[in-house]
């Protein structure tokens, strides 16, 4: 009788192969975790001279003057925050409407699939193509709107600051509009998942009590899906803060602080894209520090988003 392979080679021969592959997989896993740490450590190391020189003044300094070696990142922090928040203001209602549209049956399935495919396509278009499109379409539109709004709002107290001229095409408003379009797919996809996860029994209950479709949506379904929608918003915010190319092409890259939506501004990511190529010495260190700030901000926002998403999963698991 033939002896099985396992007895010929001995069980140890098998274990060796197993162990080697297991170790290989372990090393790959450890390397993945180490990558994130490596990114943080390396950028911090490169930024160290700037940290020593400027300290906390780097964050509060309002002037970025490479010629005089004065580096303050406040205008870019403000620009990153405002452009992302304005983008959210535009994208949230729109994204939520699309998510509701996709999870309800207003129109037959094929139509909804076309809309869904379209929104997914929006996510696939490269950032630089958004920038090119923005230069040709959104900049002229914003310029026209700006020249009108500048005149129309010149006597209204707060609005006259927000729409103060001159109306540049490369402005905070232009960048925020294109940014809104770019984060729309994120909001739609995650909100839709949250809406679809609401148990059908809740909707049936609302209908049985005599509510109309929208009373059910606004009173029962949206509140149940709310944590998921909050997570979608936070993750979209994280994406908006890190978006680089379209912003660098459209925002005008100015380091001047301004209240006006119509004047050029700058973001951390845009600053890096613009100045990294020809920077040296202390400017390079300062740019590395700006990069470090950007990583920490986005990591923080994303962690918050993931935490809310995880909380949501736990909550809905109870209802199901």
């Amino acid at each position: 009788m033939e002896t099985p392979a396992i007895q010929q080679g001995g069980i140890k021969e098998f274990r060796k192969g197993t162990d080697f592959f297991r170790i290989l997989c372990w090393v790959a896993s450890a390397a993945t975790v180490a990558t994130l740490a490596w990114i943080l450590v390396e950028i911090t190391r490169q930024a160290w001279p700037a940290i020593e020189k400027f300290g906390f003044g780097f964050v509060t300094g309002a002037r970025w003057l490479p010629n005089r070696e004065v580096f303050g990142v406040l205008p870019f922090l403000v620009g990153t925050a405002t452009s992302s928040l304005i983008a959210l203001v535009f994208a949230l209602p729109l994204g939520l409407a699309v998510a509701i549209f996709l999870s309800e049956d207003f129109l037959p399935l094929p139509v909804r699939q076309v809309v869904r495919f379209t929104v997914e396509m929006l996510a696939a278009i490269p950032s630089v193509v958004y920038g090119l499109w923005g230069i040709f379409v959104v900049i002229p539109l914003v310029q026209q709107f700006g020249s009108w709004a500048m005149v129309a709002c010149k006597d209204i107290p707060v609005l006259k600051e927000i729409f103060a001229g001159p109306a540049y095409g490369n402005s905070l408003l232009t960048a925020s509009l294109v940014l809104a379009l770019m984060i729309l797919p994120t909001i739609t996809a995650i909100s839709r998942t949250a809406l679809v996860a609401v148990p059908g029994t809740l909707r049936e209950g609302a209908y049985a009590l005599g509510s109309t479709r929208w009373e059910a949506i606004l009173g029962v379904i949206l509140p149940t899906a709310a944590p998921g929608i909050v997570a979608a918003t936070i993750l979209a915010l994280g994406r908006a803060m890190g978006e680089t190319m379209a912003i660098a092409m459209l925002i005008g890259n100015s380091s001047r602080l301004s209240w006006s939506l119509l004047s050029p501004a700058g973001t951390l990511a845009g600053l890096l894209a613009n100045q990294f190529g020809e920077a040296e010495g202390l400017q390079m260190n300062s740019l590395m520090l700006a990069a470090l700030l950007l990583v920490i901000l986005t990591l923080f926002v994303n962690m918050a988003g993931e935490a809310v998403l995880r909380y949501t999963e736990k909550q809905t698991a109870g209802i199901r």
């Binding site: 592959f21 994130l36 209602p93 409407a97 490269p126 950032s127 630089v128 499109w133 990294f276």
Partner: protein
């Protein structure tokens, strides 16, 4: 008897006349607004696609794939070197990231799903997904460009690899989760070792779904500009080696879109058309060709 019937019709009449009339009207308005907003989002996308086709098609010919980028003021030319550069660096990124991504996924899902390391890997992968793409460029600049003393295709490929690693890892993990538990049990039942089960049973079954992740990674990497700006830089010439500055489609679009030369601007649109087609093909193949299950 007739009293109650009268009451009932009375109630129904009142209900339709006042309250529920208003309610169903409000219901209709909201539905129309919602559908309207949903279709509003189609307008920008249609505008982008229309303009990319309208401005990109006139210059599209076979020679744009074989010629070098035009200097300002000249006509003709193409972006052959940029197309090759993009494909090359995406290829490098895959070669660097795929083994790490798939092996990590195997560890996380097959060897020690509940371990601390596995939990950390999942968490880190999600965080890496959210890292701004320009940070990958900054990191590759610090690690590769500063260390080797120059811009190179290697640096560009490395930056892209950092970006696609989480995509490959997370989809590979999903793919492994999709393999039925009974397959593994049957394999163990027949006396196979852990390694044999993974290598001969689990991996072949999960492979098509893993390829989805790789194609998604191609789509993501091909469109990225920010990580290449100061790692691969750009080049006017054909690529000679992986150690020199390398052109890419996305950086070409960025450079040409901000010039004052009209022909270069047109070329930026044509390059956009090619890039969008490339990315869309990668996305569609990720969703259709490999989803055979």
């Amino acid at each position: 008897m007739s009293d109650t019937t009268a009451e009932r019709t009375d109630f129904l009449a009142r209900a339709t006349a006042s309250g529920s009339g208003k309610r169903s009207f409000g219901n209709k308005i909201l539905s129309i607004v919602c559908v309207g907003l949903a279709f509003l989002t189609l307008i920008p996308l249609c505008s982008i696609i229309f303009l990319v086709l309208k401005n990109g098609l006139p210059l599209l010919s076979l020679s744009v794939f074989t010629d070098l980028p035009p200097a300002p003021g000249l006509t003709g030319g193409g972006f052959g070197n940029a197309l090759i550069g993009t494909l090359l660096m995406v290829g490098l990124a895959l070669v660097l990231a795929t083994p790490f991504g798939i092996l990590s996924a195997i560890y996380v899902n097959e060897y020690a799903p509940a371990s601390e390391l596995a939990k950390t890997v999942r968490f880190v992968a999600k965080l890496l997904t959210g890292i701004p793409s320009i940070i990958a460029g900054v990191f590759a600049y610090a690690v590769v460009v500063l260390a080797t003393g120059g811009f190179s295709a290697w640096a560009g490929g490395f930056a892209l690899a950092i970006l696609v690693l989480p995509t490959i890892l997370l989809t590979a993990e999903q793919a492994l989760m999709g393999v039925p538990k009974s397959f593994r049990e049957a394999s163990y039942g027949l006396g196979a070792t852990n390694f044999q089960t993974i290598w001969r049973i689990v991996l072949p079954d999960a492979l098509p779904a893993m390829m989805t992740g790789v194609m998604l990674a191609v789509a993501r990497a091909a469109g990225e500009t920010a990580p290449l700006l100061f790692t691969a830089l750009f080049s006017q010439y054909w690529i000679q080696s992986l150690k020199e500055p390398t052109a890419s489609l996305s950086v070409l679009i960025y450079n040409f879109s901000t010039t004052f030369d009209d022909h270069q601007k047109q070329m930026a649109w044509t390059a956009s058309l090619v890039l969008v087609v490339l990315v869309t093909l990668a996305n569609i193949s990720a969703q259709v060709v490999f989803r055979k299950r």
